[in-house]
């Protein structure tokens, strides 16, 4: 599998680290125990297209949001993860 980093270009899988589902969002401080439990422990296990966080640690050290089909490994989009620090360059 190869991932086209929006900053570095196409790189092999070994340069990246998988974090997991990009969907969970940290709940508000007063959201309650159930919301925090969901955020920390519960993950969907999607057979199909999902958004994932990947870290390009062997390259530019940017966090990326990768849209990948878990059945085919087809990657349809890669973009800088929101809040990861760097502004998106024109790819």
């Amino acid at each position: 599998m190869r991932i086209v980093c929006p900053f570095c270009g196409e790189r092999e899988l070994g340069e990246f680290t998988y974090l997991g589902d990009a969907k969970p969002v940290r709940p508000a401080a007063d959201a309650g125990e159930d919301a925090v439990f969901d955020y920390v422990y519960l993950r969907d296990n999607i057979a199909g297209v999902m958004n994932e966080n990947w870290y390009h640690g062997g390259g530019c050290r940017a966090w990326l949001k990768v849209t990948r089909n878990t059945l085919t490994h087809e990657i349809s989009a890669v973009e800088p993860a929101p809040g990861a620090g760097a502004a998106k360059v024109d790819a």
Binding site: F7, C8, G9, R11, E12, G14, E15, G57, G58, G59, C60, R61, A62, P80, G85, A86, A87, V89
Partner: protein
């Protein structure tokens, strides 16, 4: 009080033995460790990338690279190292952190990496073949032209590689920056990779 000796020594001081190595005959690879350089990591603070770009243009007279490139000025090389960050490679203190601070202090964090990295230059007819064994980057001249740079991994070790200007004999030159503590390991790996082509090893005080 204990006496300390702060002699600056290359991390390759012991590993690097000048001379011929590997297959006999004309050396296919020339490996040179460049010593005594100034290296500053320049990183934009959050939301300050445009200000950093302006400061770089004012300081160096050229735009700092915003894509994986190395830009050469009269006395410095600006090497892209990731989004909103680049290295300044130079010699003689003209572009050390102290010299750069006035231009960049408002927008940018500067970090002196002069003794935290080892700089290895590889050239010769088989340099590309030797590096191709260690790198997943396509080093073909059509793809990795003069001035192309890449932060990547070699033998599971983080490196920044860029193609410098060709030698006078037309041979390509590849420059590799590696963390000091990993330098000896990568150096031995390079030697093993290059041995079949014959290697000429040396170190130099001059940026080429």
């Amino acid at each position: 009080m204990a006496e300390f000796s702060w002699d600056i020594r290359s991390p390759l001081d012991r590993a690097l033995v000048s001379g011929a190595y590997g297959a006999r005959g004309d050396a296919g690879v020339l490996l040179t460790e460049i010593r005594n350089f100034d290296l500053v990591q320049v990183m934009a603070r959050r939301g300050k990338a445009a200000d950093m770009a302006k400061a770089a243009k004012g300081r160096f007279g050229v735009a700092a690279p915003e894509t994986p490139k190395a830009v050469t000025t009269a006395d410095a090389t600006l090497i892209w190292s990731g989004p909103d960050q680049f290295f300044v490679l130079s010699q003689g203190g003209k572009h050390g952190t102290g010299a750069l601070a006035p231009a960049f202090a408002a927008s940018t964090s500067l970090s002196d990496q002069s003794h935290a990295r080892v700089l290895i230059s590889a050239s010769g007819a088989k340099a590309r073949a030797m590096l191709a064994k260690l790198s997943s980057i396509d080093l073909h001249p059509d793809t990795f032209a003069v001035g192309t740079a890449a932060p990547t991994s070699m033998d599971h070790t983080s490196v920044t590689i860029w193609r410098g200007n060709d030698r006078v004999d037309g041979q390509a030159v590849f420059n590799v920056l590696v963390f000091a503590t990993f330098a000896e390991s990568l150096w031995h790996t390079m030697l093993d990779s290059a041995a079949e082509y014959g290697v000429n090893i040396r170190h130099s005080e001059e940026l080429t």
